[in-house]
Symmetry: C2
């Protein structure tokens, strides 16, 4: 069952600049930047009252986030819902004609089980906590 | 102080279609659609574990959401943070060179005090609950 929002993913070109922006708004220290060099990505998560702002910098040539920035510029790229049963929810959504990038959940940047929707206009993910 | 996330605003072209999409994902009844005819807007809010998904349809010629859809297509348009002191937070952010559309808070679609940022790449709002 989907019961909440895990985080909102923000596609950025320069993660240091974006973190400065958000840490100024939220008056928090600069969060730690993590790297996923195999994906040419860097990311950081800011917790705001239990919901994450996930900043994503993608320097690959054709990654999902890199393509988003190329087409639309920096901005909010996805909403990630929380589910307590990702396999079951993905199966049910596929029966209702939702397209996911993978048949079952994959491991996301942060080591969680995630299913990515192919709907680019209203991107969303499912994630187990 | 900013202490949470009120909602995530999603710009859509057809609010009925978008609500069908989200209500299928979340297995909820179709939420009520509200109108703001003076702005040529319709909107609906879906609560997901305490955070709103605010769907926004803007049929005006040059409204913020209409312009977003024209330039980028449907997608997630803003994050609205919660503050317990909107005037104070807006003043402090302005001192740190944040641009808002208005000097002080305005009344949003849902009757709340809101400050809209002019930063279009990483749109955000502040709102009092």
């Amino acid at each position: 069952m989907i019961y909440g929002i895990s985080h909102v993913g923000v596609a950025v070109q320069d993660i240091e600049a974006a973190l400065k922006y958000f840490s100024r708004i939220l008056k928090i220290p600069m969060p730690e930047i993590h790297s996923a060099p195999e994906k040419k990505m860097r990311f950081a998560v800011i917790d705001v009252g239990g919901v994450g702002i996930e900043l994503l910098e993608d320097k690959s040539s054709d990654g999902r986030v890199a393509n988003f920035v190329k087409e639309k510029g920096e901005g909010i790229e996805h909403i990630c819902f929380l589910t307590d049963s990702i396999e079951k929810d993905m199966d049910e959504l596929k029966e209702r004609n939702f397209d996911f990038y993978s048949r079952g959940p994959v491991t996301g940047l942060r080591g969680k089980k995630i299913g990515f929707s192919k709907n680019e206009a209203l991107a969303f993910e499912l994630s187990e906590p």
